[in-house]
Point group: C2
Chain length 403, copies 2
């Protein structure tokens, strides 16, 4: 496992405590508590999966009732598919944390990630909570980043100081997730905090916009795992005027920075894709609307035949073409479409481009970062999706995960 | 490669000739011509892929104009993504066959399967055609079966003598295809012939019904590869009254037999799935309509996480549950759903069944043929889909296919 090499800016009002509560079998850190100072505002987005995990249900409910004072995250066990007992366990976890912090249970949001269908080991959680709280520190980002990992090979963190209308604002965030071959089934968690002063409605819009261009671009059509969640907390402690209008320059600056941080966190998940050897950008240009661009992008990005060709560094553009053709876009004019591997045009006029050579295609495929561009030439909309190749190791990791 | 062990009934009026025209690099048979006696009726279904291959376009057009007298099939090259040259080559192939047989070019239907995006080697086809025709024989089914194979490990053929209202009818069919992990991108070809006397409209309905419960049940939502095709020919040479009404007992008998033959041919493709070690039946019961049952079935059948768990013989039912949850069925009542591995209930009331034991789940997973049953308990519709597990060998076969 790699160590975190990014330097994390502390965020005033955010304290992180991590410990190894033996929920994971390997003795690695697996329990994280993030305490948020009074006055912090938090927004969150959650999985659309009908079988959402107990902590998701509990967190949604709590968020509707109160302003969060703490987040409690365990790895190693997803508390999903655990029925009524799962709900009781998630609520109990919040109650314990709230008792220690002196707040209400509904001011604590629970998050879990790991194996589905096993009950939380409550005795381990109970003894871990005081230990994690004892470690609370404004400098605790790197430990927290490790504590939320499951099959991740590298910790994922991004930190930025940005200028918002001349005022310094700090943003730090961590994410986890690596089961990326069919990303809608892997749990992705993201926790981002900033010291910015911003209203609840602006914060909500900012999170929604940022997730849409980041985590949702490594996900299929709103499909998600049982546990996916992303939070954005603003502690309001920066020395600046409140961002209170989406039309303001300050909002634009801030929103752009949050989107960039979340995009980096999302791309790190792709780069750590299970068994991934390639980072693949699928760019669809010239669509009539966003929906058809994403249909094409996902058909290509999720095609096992395209993914295995990428693993083999094989410029088998016929597989890309076949994926575009089956994406379900109506009245697709095949002859108008152009496909590119990197800068190399591979398909035009319904067939292989006259200028294409196997050597040129091979040179692109031999790289680690590959962009596949599909020009539909029927409109003005562009969309992008990030994915990985499909390797022996993907099968190995997922065939052996529970053993 | 296995040898065909099924005994094939000859079909009066159907002659098959096969040769090795060196289109495949390995010297195996790769060119098949099937001559159909005057008076034969033929129906066909083709891929929905927007990038359909040149032979598909040519065959559809020919079928609209004339009654086929011959089918010409090459393996090793799909003649897909080949633009205008592909159309010229497919038409030229038909012209050559027609000249030899003394019929019109539009009485010959072309089919191709193999690598996408390379032009047909026309010199090899031209010299192969007389050789294949020289081998024409009513006994030529086994050779034809081999001649249409690409990455298939086993030849796929089914033959039956059935009684239709007291009259003996022969049915023989062959199929190819093995890229089954995401079946909509693998080329499946099926050629079925019978000596039955039947009207064109009854034959058309019969093919449509049979494909819907067979080849389309190993395919996603009408998505198909560039070259998929299935034909049904009735030579009208059996000693029987004409089947001319879909309400007749004779039609019911005949239609049932055709559906059974095509289901067997389709299941053989799954059993020969690339790198497959399991044959998996996904059964969805109690749905409100066919669409939602198929959504759930496909979400489970195509989940790489479910497939890798199946490869590992790991009763990781949490992954099945997560796939059901993300299938996109609206207002799904999680607590009403039951999941079974074989006869073992694994999920009820939103979590692991009280009666479930890991040992019982393991015993089912250790088998080669596994049925996953999902009871939605909200309606009366049942649907079934067949699929395979996802192994190291799948990656190996598809990463190395062109080399």
């Amino acid at each position: 496992m790699s160590e975190l090499t990014v330097e994390m800016h502390p965020i005033s009002g955010v304290y992180l405590g991590t410990c190894a509560a033996n929920i994971k079998k390997n003795g690695q850190p697996d329990l994280v508590i993030i305490e948020l100072a009074q006055g912090s505002l938090t927004e969150a987005t959650f999985t659309q999966n009908a079988f959402c995990a107990a902590p998701v249900t509990v967190a949604k409910q709590a968020l509707a009732e109160a302003n969060p004072r703490a987040l409690v995250i365990n790895s190693g066990n997803a508390n999903a598919g655990t029925g009524k007992q799962g709900m009781i366990d998630a609520e109990q976890t919040c109650t314990w944390v709230a008792a220690e912090l002196g707040c209400n249970p509904n001011e604590v949001l629970p998050f879990s990630t790991g194996v589905i269908g096993e009950n939380l080991p409550m005795d381990k959680l109970q003894s871990g909570i005081p230990e994690a709280l004892a470690n609370l520190s404004i400098m605790g980002w790197p430990q927290a980043c490790e504590g939320i990992m499951t099959t991740d090979l590298v910790p994922k963190a991004v930190s930025r100081e940005v200028m918002v209308e001349g005022h310094s604002v700090m943003i730090s965030g961590i994410s986890k997730g690596s089961g990326m071959i069919h990303p809608n089934m892997a749990t992705m968690l993201g926790f981002v905090a900033t010291d910015a002063k911003i209203t609840q409605s602006c914060l909500q819009q900012c999170l929604s916009d940022a997730v849409n261009v980041s985590f949702n671009r490594i996900t299929v059509d709103g499909d998600t795992s049982t546990n996916d969640a992303c939070t954005l907390t603003a502690t309001q402690q920066a020395d600046m005027p409140v961002i209170d209008s989406q039309d303001s320059k300050a909002y634009q600056d801030f929103s752009k920075a949050i989107s960039e941080v979340m995009t980096e966190l999302a791309q790190m998940i792709i780069r750590d894709g299970e068994g991934a050897t390639k980072f693949v950008t699928v760019l669809v240009e010239g669509g009539e609307d966003s929906e058809e661009c994403l249909k094409v992008a996902h058909a290509v990005a999720l095609s096992p035949l395209v993914k295995t060709a990428l693993f083999a560094s094989d410029p088998n553009w016929g597989r890309i073409l076949a994926a575009v053709g089956r994406a379900g876009v109506s009245n697709l004019d095949i002859d108008a479409i152009k496909l590119f591997l990197g800068d190399v045009c591979i398909v035009e006029n319904g067939g292989r481009a006259d200028s294409y050579t196997e050597e040129a295609g091979q040179a692109v495929m031999d790289q680690t970062d590959i962009t596949i561009t599909i020009q539909l030439n029927r409109g003005k909309v562009t969309e992008v999706v990030w994915t990985t190749d499909f390797s022996y190791d993907y099968v190995k990791i997922n065939a052996e995960y529970r053993s």
